[in-house]
């Protein structure tokens, strides 16, 4: 197994390097190197159901003590899955600011108990989702989403497309972090490291360009073209 596991001490420099690596690698599936744990072996539907239960528990069990307990359970699960530290941090990093602001506002408005409750709940949910994604082959996850969204066929939605959307969403987060790092480096190289326009404008343009390129590549591979279940060769033959 590569990378640091939860519970091991690392220096701040190592932590910083780990974040960089996670950013460039993308945390989706990055923890599968440790793949022999009970969490890895659990089926994707079980893990999805557990994540749903976790979501319900954060709402149904108010107060700081249950929230912290739930968070500790999720941390224990991440540890059990030998989730590399860099993967855990990469998953949590995007919501750290939100957790801090949310906690501060709740503390100011409703006191420390609500602040701890809200912050711990949000952290537990994000870490739980990170454990799910990092320990499940994406192909299995797609199959699970396809099965779970099968009822949506009744309202005209194709489960394969729903799964594809989820997959793209999961892949987009690390890709955008990569993009952000590239844009920042390019701005620094031109001596514009702190100039907001030098960061925001190329970021926006490249994000749209990447979305177009990905869409074009998927279309070129015929992904999304799949016909509904029960599809057979078309009755209409090509014209001579």
């Amino acid at each position: 197994m590569t990378g640091h596991t939860l519970g091991r001490a690392t220096s701040s420099r190592t932590w910083s390097r780990s974040i960089g690596a996670a950013r460039s690698r993308g945390y989706v599936g990055a923890g599968r190197a440790g793949g022999a744990t009970v969490v890895h072996r659990a089926s994707v539907p079980v893990k999805l159901a557990s994540l749903a239960v976790l979501g319900v528990a954060t709402v149904a069990l108010p107060g700081p003590a249950p929230a912290v307990t739930v968070l500790l359970v999720v941390v224990a699960l991440a540890s059990l899955a030998r989730l590399p530290r860099r993967v855990a941090f990469a998953g949590l990093r995007p919501v750290v600011t939100v957790v801090v602001i949310l906690g501060a506002v709740q503390w100011w408005q409703r006191g420390w108990m609500t602040a701890v409750d809200a912050s711990a709940d949000l952290t537990a949910l994000v870490l739980g989702a990170t454990v799910l994604v990092a320990t499940s082959p994406l192909d299995d996850l797609l199959d699970a989403v396809v099965r779970a969204s099968a009822p949506l066929r009744r309202v005209g939605l194709r489960p394969e497309l729903v799964a594809l959307t989820v997959m793209l969403m999961l892949r987009t987060v690390p890709a955008l972090l990569d993009l952000m790092a590239e844009v920042r480096d390019a701005a620094r190289a031109r001596g514009l490291g702190r100039h907001p326009r030098a960061l925001l404008v190329p970021m926006a343009i490249r994000t749209v360009a990447r979305a177009r390129a990905t869409g074009e590549a998927l279309a070129a591979r015929g992904i999304g073209d799949e016909p509904p279940a029960g599809y057979a060769e078309p009755a209409r033959r090509p014209e001579a």
């Binding site: 599936g29 997959m167 793209l168 279309a219 070129a220 591979r221 015929g222 073209d225 078309p234 090509p238």
Partner: protein, 246 residues
């Protein structure tokens, strides 16, 4: 077989003269050869022509069909028959590992998950990527990524392969390897390239310039025509007054 019947591509907007912005002038030809090269300067319309073949770009007028399937009316069927390889494999590879990316292509086929994984592994083995099946895609070299992109496209058995400058980003070693792979394919290959040595190995060369196919012939005459065209362009540039940059 690929057929262009007065296929024209325009972009939204109008020119100064009030007409539509034309990206590709009406093109009529039938491509039956096994290896076809499309060459031309940057921005000449090569990629637009290539994208017409699998329906990524649709003709504003006229018609393009592949084996009798119309790219406008039968887009899905056309894409089943036409694979497309892009210059930058990073845009094409969307899954975390090579095995999963090939398996994603195979989802179009009616295979069980186990069969899909086994088939994906076989395909990766055949491309010499068997030992890289479960590593993260980002850890592959540029050449391995392009080979993987090729494997993903060929996984579903298209009859035509369109490659848009597939070796531009590769070093010499990988360029030769990818070229060897392309040379060995049974599929009809349409190769968009700046590499004149690759173009010379094909059966037919289309030269594109300023949104029009200006030459269509065998490899030697096509490449010679393009070289003359570029030489004339370079001479015209040299004759222009220069602005010194200090």
């Amino acid at each position: 077989m690929i057929t262009f019947d007065a296929a024209t591509v325009t972009a939204p907007g109008t020119t100064a003269h009030g007409g539509p912005v034309r990206l590709l002038a009406p093109l009529t030809c039938r491509l039956t050869e096994s290896r076809i090269a499309v060459i031309g300067a940057n921005g000449s319309g090569k990629s637009t022509l290539a994208r017409l073949v699998n329906g990524l770009v649709l003709p504003a007028a006229g018609r393009v069909d592949v084996d009798g399937w119309d790219t406008v009316r039968d887009g899905g069927e056309v894409r089943r028959r036409v694979g497309f390889v892009f210059t930058d494999p990073d845009a094409q590879l969307v899954m975390p590992t090579p095995l999963e990316d090939v398996a994603l292509s195979l989802r179009r086929l009616d295979l069980s998950r186990a069969d899909r994984a086994a088939r994906a592994r076989e395909i990766l083995e055949s491309f010499g990527l068997g030992d890289r099946a479960d590593v993260a895609v980002h850890s592959l070299s540029g050449g391995q990524k392009q080979l993987l992109a090729l494997a993903c496209v060929l996984a579903t058995g298209p009859s035509v392969l369109v490659c848009d400058e597939p070796t531009t980003l590769l070093d010499l070693r990988w360029r030769r390897h990818v070229e060897d792979v392309l040379d060995g394919l049974d599929q009809q290959v349409v190769l968009v390239t700046h590499d004149l040595a690759s173009a010379r190995r094909t059966d037919r060369v289309l030269v594109v310039d300023q949104g029009a196919v200006v030459h269509d012939g065998d490899a030697s005459t096509g490449v010679a025509f393009y070289e003359d065209l570029m030489a004339a362009g370079a001479a015209a540039n040299a004759a222009r007054p220069r602005t010194d940059v200090t």
